[in-house]
């Protein structure tokens, strides 16, 4: 995309010469008459953490299961490291998977769980022991090596599952909702641990998640999925700031959407007339549309300013009354009722201790945002 400074080293997807490590080509999966994955194409490069993000039932897990060989593709092709995976059984693939339920072997100790994959490869016993103990210390489970899974906490089980999937040094590691069962604090810690491990080992990760925060922190790139299709692929920044359509804008973070028609269409800006605001909306980027076309404009709550005084610096200003206030500590989120009846969410950072209390219910306020803040999205 044009708004990123392409550096081929860290962004191989912007380098036309780079060969993708994992190629998914027009893959479709049908269960009877139901299409779970529909014509998905995807390139993932070596060393990436690629997140498939979507709600439940969007086909992301099915796609992952096809990558690891648990489901056949109905049509299309999956190529890993130059090898077509058609007809390759799960046990013959150079990939490993960390399951959502962790799927630890309940009758084996932590040590044996981790060693299982290496033993199946027929490695000599002393090498297995060395690699297992390396892995155990990497995930900091040294004290628990002889425990069984049910004697561990959720976070510890999760680390065993991770260790077990990493110990074979797979070319491609797939993680299905890896942090789903952890509480918020542990999640954040583990996220960074995961990224560190990924950097140290240089494994390519494909992560499936429904949690947008997890996807944003972890990934080099995100593929947003809905109804069996990838609707947008891009870096977290691209996905957040330049959502391709309304679904993506709505799914990632919270957003205010204004519907309207283009009344002025120039190379570097558009003006949109909307019934939901009593003023026209100015958007400081060109679109490939025509005058009269119906569009939606997405504005993130944190890019809006709220004030009791008129906002002369802002390109777009609307009047309204505060309907709801949610105090979140680091910021407050206001729901402002506009004259048209539409409500917009405005996030306001609480920079001073008293700041949160200056605006309150029923206050008449001005909501404003700069021309660059809004983005036109397709319906």
């Amino acid at each position: 995309m044009s708004h990123e400074n392409a550096t081929p080293d860290t962004q191989p997807w912007n380098d036309p010469k780079a060969v993708p490590f994992l190629q998914v080509k027009n893959v479709t999966k049908k269960f009877g008459t139901f299409t779970a994955v529909s014509d998905v194409s995807l390139d993932v490069y070596k060393g990436e953490i690629f997140c498939l993000l979507g709600g439940s039932g969007c086909g992301k897990s099915t796609l992952l299961r096809m990558l690891s060989g648990f489901e056949d593709v109905t049509s299309g092709q999956i190529i890993i490291d130059g090898q077509d995976q058609a007809g390759v059984a799960p046990y013959a693939r150079q990939t490993n998977m960390m399951f959502q339920s962790y799927a630890l072997f309940p009758h084996m100790t932590v040590e044996k769980n981790i060693a299982y994959g290496l033993k199946r490869d027929g490695l000599p016993r002393d090498e297995v022991a060395v690699r297992v103990s390396e892995m155990i210390s990497l995930v900091q489970l040294d004290k628990f090596a002889n425990r069984k899974p049910h004697q561990l906490s959720g976070g510890q089980q999760q680390r065993v599952a991770l260790a077990r999937s990493l110990v074979k040094k797979p070319k491609l590691l797939m993680l299905d909702e890896p942090l789903g069962a952890l509480d918020k604090k542990l999640r954040e810690e583990t996220q960074f641990e995961l990224m560190e491990i990924q950097e140290n080992l240089g494994v390519t990760f494909v992560v499936v998640t429904h949690d947008q925060e997890e996807a944003m922190t972890l990934s080099s790139r995100i593929g947003v999925m809905t109804d069996g299709q990838i609707v947008q692929t891009g870096t977290p920044h691209e996905i957040y700031e330049y959502p391709a359509n309304r679904f993506v804008a709505d799914f990632i973070g919270s957003v205010n959407i204004f519907e309207g028609r283009i009344v002025e269409d120039e190379v570097d800006y558009v003006v949109v007339q909307s019934r939901e605001t009593n003023t026209d909306i100015f958007v400081a980027h060109g679109v490939s549309g025509t005058v009269g076309q119906k569009v939606a404009i997405a504005v993130r709550p944190e890019k809006m300013t709220i004030s009791k005084d008129p906002l002369p610096d802002m390109r777009n200003v609307i009047k309204g009354t505060i309907a709801e206030v949610a105090y979140m500590g680091n910021r407050s989120v206001y729901q402002v009722q506009l004259e048209s009846g539409k409500r917009v969410r405005v996030a306001h950072p609480n920079r001073t201790r008293r700041g949160a209390h200056t605006l309150t219910w029923e206050d008449e306020v001005y909501v404003g945002w700069a021309g660059q803040a809004g983005v036109v999205v397709s319906q």
């Binding site: 690891s68 648990f70 059984a89 799960p90 046990y91 013959a92 693939r93 990939t95 490993n96 998977m97 399951f99 959502q100 339920s101 799927a103 630890l104 072997f105 309940p106 009758h107 299982y116 994959g117 199946r120 490869d121 069984k148 049910h150 004697q151 077990r164 999937s165 074979k168």
Partner: protein
Amino acid sequence: MRGPSTFLKVMGLVGFIFLYAPIISLVVYSFNESKLVTVWGGFSTKWYVELFRDPQILEAAWVSLKIAFISATLAIIIGTVASFVLIRFKKFRSKALLSMMITAPLVMPEVIIGLSLLLLFVAMENLIGWPSGRGMLTIIIAHATFGSAYAAVVIQSRLVDMDLSIEEAALDLGAKPLRVFFDITLPIIAPALMSGWLLSFTLSLDDLVIASFVSGPGASTLPMVIFSKVRLGVSPDVNALATIIIGIVSLGIIVAALQMNRGKKNG
């Protein structure tokens, strides 16, 4: 919390007496000196000595144990295969029918099972000459048939609960399907296999009706011998035998309960 009311205590006691009075009287009378079952003639262990001098009963007990062991083992194998077909295979046309047929012996009267098996064995002998005559083999087959129905029910419930992704994880780590079965699936369903086996074993030891239908000369199980003895009048050595069986069963239950308790503490 208040303790149970007097009414509940009394009812509980009545229930226990109802269940265990016959067994206790049996145990007590097995130590009876007198030959008359209803008259107490003082403490004695002579019926136990008598019992071990009776070759017929010892022979029958040995036959019963052999039949129970082999048929329970067969039942577990058949039950496991049937459970896998029913739980793991995708929907196939006759799945409901198979599922019904597998559990039919649970509800079918024993007389009918026995009779139909007898007719089958006779017809088979006429047609293909196997099984030639009736005896231990036919009882084993018959017991394996209805034992596998019970085993299938027990194993199915365990298989349903098992997380499929555990097997997938093993596949993913490089184990071939057969290896996965022996390394992962079998250990996980082992408790169900064990209880299914014990159930089939007990049912086989206990069975009188089916065995009477399909047995032939020279193959009398313990229940058959006891039943024929009692028809000629209850002799005290049967009491002694029953007491020994109760002792063994109780011991088994206590050991199993202790094992389970230990399992729970670990869990």
